[in-house]
Amino acid sequence: MGSAKSSLSKIPNAEQLMDDTGFSPAHVVRLHERFQALDKEKKGHLSRQDFESIKELATNPIRDRIIGAFFAQGGEMVDFHTFVKILAHFRPVDKKHLKKANIREPINSRTNKLRFAFQLYDQDNDGKISRSELLQVLRTMLEVQVTDEQLESIADRTIQEADLDGDNAISFDEFRKSLEKVNIDHKMSIRFLR
């Protein structure tokens, strides 16, 4: 723990960060190490290239979308705070922390987790998943070769299913409703090792 504390002191605004994200000091230190490992040129922030050079990520069909999520606020660099905040979406919900910080919504709340997923589709940030946006994601995710026509009909059907107001697009509310039965806390959490 001593080493964790000492390396914690090197990270600027670590307290603030932990307060925002709910990560423990050990987590923050751990992530900081990872951040530095990714930041090969030691420039203090991560660029797209840094993400793209992660080997395991190369085969992920929605790699670009996820990397894009880190750059959602625009700009071409991700500093440590943004990095941790994005990852905080995936922190499992723990009840103790929830009680403590009930003033504002924690980053890993259900809505925020969903919003993260939503924004992977919504590339133009208009708050709606249009048919073409859905189609793009579908195309990348279907493993087996399917024809465009099939893809289109799947996309149409998906939109029909979720679309409640008939605008042929899925808004965030509709998105949330259609996933009401899914246990997002389970599906959008990973266990952060200490």
Partner: protein, 844 residues
């Protein structure tokens, strides 16, 4: 009376049990009787159930016409009757629905078993029938376990594997040791009076009671619908702890025979090694057989009818092999089911998959019923009952208490590592769900009474524990689940968005794990999936099956099928296909073109058709074209034409009257090799005749047809065909009916698929008085010789349809159509579709 061995379920596994056929026919040939002289004695023996015909041996003086051969059939007969009785009990139980909701079936079956046992004992004064270990382990248990493994939700099972193994191994050992030791302690304290049991025997007893029983757990938990994680924990534990139980039992049994003084560290280490070998060896046997099975189903395409049989045979073999090698047979068959399910389901034909699914349920459910009934029957035997209040009560208390302690301690440990902690309420249910069942009873039954003096006390205690857990805990389980508000399983409908999103979540999680540098579950799963995809699938899965494996697409496919089925069902309910549906209906309309999918269907249909030669005559919708020329959606078509409601009703009535109801019937075919659906030529003819007749009638009644040709009045059946030859245009009208009926045929052939809409619907001018007056078709039949333009109806192809239609093919060449109305409407269609058949002249 000689004791009867009951091979009740051998019937279920007819294929496996050669025994049934080798029943010694000891008195066949000795008991020929003449009908005249022995009617009386025949009924006597029947009454006695003993069939002692020895006395008639000397009576063979004349040719016997009918003989009484009870011994010849005794064993299989009794088995069958017992199966029947057990199943009838189940049937009676389910007559009262409320009863089965309130009280779990397993408990009811045991209680009824008591009653049956009482009757048997009252009649015989001895318990003739009891659950024998051989019967239980070789014939009753495998099917249940196979069913459990085959329908195991794999992803859930493997992602909770750590927890399941912890409970199965550590939990079971804990149960065995603590129960045994505590009982011994109390015994030393003197609370049980004078018993001839030593420590090792107590440990043996503890070990046979340690295992949570898969049959009992499944029976109770299936009815309460708890959330899936809780279910898989309890159920997975009950399946996997078998290896532990068997080993513990064997080790303790061996120790008992060795005697306490010969046990040393070496023996104990051997015991542990034996555990590892038994458990992993069993699982390995299962995996090997699963691979064999998957490979085998790759090439059973040509013998589809026995394809499902391989599943049962090979998995049963895996069970027997493991049993033979004294490995854990339950683990073997579990893993066989778990590992093969995916590949087998992909490799086999759809119908075989369904067959396996149902047959497995029949076997499993059937033998489960038998087990519980016999657990009840076995109790009614005064010979086994030895009562020792302290021993029995303390056993129950210890079993319960140590289960609770074990579960809570282990979950506490596990929760430190789990992403989703197991909640307190779930832990309560888990501890309460520690049901003991048939396995424990049979193990107790197998004890050696020469070495274990108090065998009967152990049997009766085990029985009490089984009844206590299955009946009492089983009955109270549901109220408890409700009272504690345990999260129950939510029924989820098929939902594309959900499936899509689940997949997206998977990818997201993997990516995030990669980015944050964690090596977690998702990472490992991804690696495994990749490996499976690259190496295992090509080996075990058919090439064709591999291609259509995308789950998302199959969900989509299923949804569409469901829509189509409900669409037709709805239509039929209303008596016609023309039910109301608004255009902007959210009711997911099937109007998409299915490019590649279409070709799949076509190949399906093609394979259905034996007579492919004639098939080539029928133009088939090409894949480019996509849209078949059938209109499912008559309503929509109507709207296009701006018809008003009155005509709709007209049409509805008409459809109702004249739509041919395709008969789907399995005719009795004397072929063991295939089950075919009726493809009767007469059916087509009948459709044809009916529609012809109705056409003629409507022409008669239509205003424009007034004063028509009297010759046409009689429409006897034999004339109808002539008529249609004479009246090509009339026939052309008919095409729409044929089309509709084709649609039905198609549906009835099981090839219900996406039937798009383009042309079609009801467009017969005869029904639309507003339509421009036309010349009645038959007045133009002289023009037939000119054979100019085929009518548009003739040009619009017959949709793909059973080959029977080929007879009609030449008829589609027709004369110039007379409905200008349609011609005007269809001008474009005609240009697009030049006549596909050359006029071959009219047949007269």
């Amino acid at each position: 009376m000689k004791p009867l061995r009951i091979h009740v379920p051998a019937l279920l596994l007819v294929a496996f049990v050669s025994k049934a056929w080798t029943v010694p026919m000891n008195n066949s040939g000795t008991s020929y009787m003449t009908t005249t002289g022995t009617a009386h004695s025949g009924s006597n023996t029947a009454g006695n159930h003993t069939a002692n015909n020895g006395g008639h041996e000397a009576a063979v003086t004349t040719l016997p016409i009918v003989t009484w051969k009870w011994h010849h059939v005794e064993l299989p007969y009794l088995m069958t009757v017992w199966v029947l009785v057990c199943w009838l009990i189940k049937l009676v139980l389910h007559l009262n629905e409320r009863l089965t909701i309130e009280i779990p079936e397993s408990a009811m079956l045991i209680l009824i078993g008591f009653g049956l046992g009482g009757i048997i004992w009252g009649a015989d004064k001895v318990q003739t029938f009891a659950l024998k270990p051989i019967t239980f382990f070789l014939f009753l248990l495998p099917q249940i376990i196979l069913d459990a493994g085959y329908f195991m939700p794999n992803k859930l099972f493997f992602s909770n594997m750590g927890a399941i193994l912890t409970f199965a191994v550590i939990g079971t050992v804990w149960n065995a040791v603590t129960v045994g030791l505590s009982l011994y302690g109390v015994y030393l304290g003197g609370a049980m009076g004078n018993l001839d049991i030593d420590l090792l025997q107590f440990m043996l007893f503890g070990s046979l009671l340690s295992a949570v029983d898969p049959v009992a757990v499944l029976a109770v938990f299936e009815e309460v619908h708890v959330n899936e994680v809780l279910f898989i924990l309890v159920f997975g534990e009950s399946l996997l702890n078998d290896g532990v139980t068997v080993v513990l039992y064997n080790v303790c049994d061996a120790f008992v025979s060795l005697g306490a003084d010969k046990i040393n560290a070496v023996e104990i280490i051997k015991g542990i090694v034996s555990f590892l070998v038994v458990a992993f060896g069993g699982a390995l046997v299962g995996v090997v057989f699963a691979i064999l099975l998957s490979l085998l189903t790759r090439c059973t395409k040509n013998i589809q009818i026995i394809e499902p049989g391989f599943i049962f045979i090979l998995s049963y073999l895996s069970y027997l092999t493991a049993e033979m090698l004294s490995l854990s047979s339950i683990l073997a068959i579990t893993f066989c089911g778990v590992c093969c399910q995916r590949y087998v389901n992909a490799n086999m034909a759809e119908s075989s998959v369904t067959t396996v699914r149902y047959a497995m349920k029949v076997f499993a459910n059937g033998s489960e019923t038998i087990i519980f009934v016999f657990l009840g029957i076995s109790a009614i035997d005064p010979n086994i009952w030895v009562w020792n209040t302290a021993f029995i009560l303390l056993t129950i208390v210890f079993v319960l208490v140590y289960r609770i302690i074990g579960v809570f301690a282990l979950t506490w440990l596990l929760n430190r590592f789990r992403l989703i902690p197991i909640e307190i309420i779930d832990q309560v249910i888990m501890s309460y769900g520690g049901l003991r069942g048939g396995v424990a009873y049979v193990l107790a039954f197998m004890l050696d009474e020469n070495r274990i003096k108090e065998k009967n006390l152990m049997i009766s205690t085990t029985l009490i524990v089984v009844y206590f857990t299955v009946v009492l805990q089983g009955v109270t389980m549901k109220p408890l689940v409700k009272w504690l508000k345990v999260k129950t399983a939510s029924k989820s409908d098929l939902c594309l968005m959900e499936k899509l999103q689940n997949r997206a979540f998977d990818h997201i999680l993997i990516a995030i794990e990669d980015i944050s540098g964690q090596i977690g579950h998702n990472y490992m799963r991804e690696k495994w999936n990749k490996f499976e995809m690259r190496f295992i699938r090509p080996l075990l899965m058919k090439t064709s099956a591999r291609k259509s494996q995308d789950q998302l697409f199959s969900v989509f496919h299923q949804l569409n099928l469901k829509d189509a089925i409900s669409y037709v069902a709805e239509g039929e309910r209303r008596g016609s296909l023309a039910f109301i549906r608004s255009e902007n209906d959210a009711n997911l309309v099937i109007k998409k073109k299915f490019g590649a999918d279409f070709s799949d269907i076509m190949s399906d249909i093609n394979s259905d058709i034996s007579d492919t030669e004639s098939y080539s005559n029928i133009p088939m919708p090409s894949t480019q074209n996509g849209v078949p020329s059938i209109c499912l959606d008559i309503e929509e078509e109507m709207k296009k034409k701006n018809f008003n409601g009155a005509k709709d009703i007209d049409t509805h009535r008409l459809l109702q009257m004249h739509l041919y109801k395709a008969r789907k019937q399995h005719r009795h075919r004397y072929s063991r090799r295939e089950i075919g659906v009726n493809k009767d030529e007469n059916e087509v003819q009948e459709i044809f005749q009916r529609t012809m007749r109705s056409r003629l009638e409507s022409f008669k009644s239509a205003k424009m047809g007034v004063g028509q040709n009297k010759k046409l009045k009689p429409h006897k059946k034999d004339q109808v065909r002539n008529l249609c030859l004479l009246l090509p245009t009339a026939y052309a009208y008919n095409m729409q009916w044929v089309k509709l009926t084709c649609l039905f045929l198609q549906v009835s052939n099981g090839n219900l698929d996406f039937v798009g809409n383009s042309a079609g619907g009801i467009e017969n001018p005869a029904f639309f008085p507003d339509a421009p007056p036309q010349t009645p078709p038959w007045s133009t039949n002289t023009q037939a010789e000119n054979g100019v333009a085929p009518s548009q109806w003739a040009q619009l192809r017959i949709p793909w349809s059973p080959s029977n239609f080929h007879r009609l093919a030449p008829l589609r060449i027709s004369t110039r159509s007379t409905d200008s109305f349609l011609l005007a409407d269809r001008a474009t269609t005609e240009e697009e579709q030049p006549p596909q058949d050359q006029p071959s002249g009219m047949k007269k």
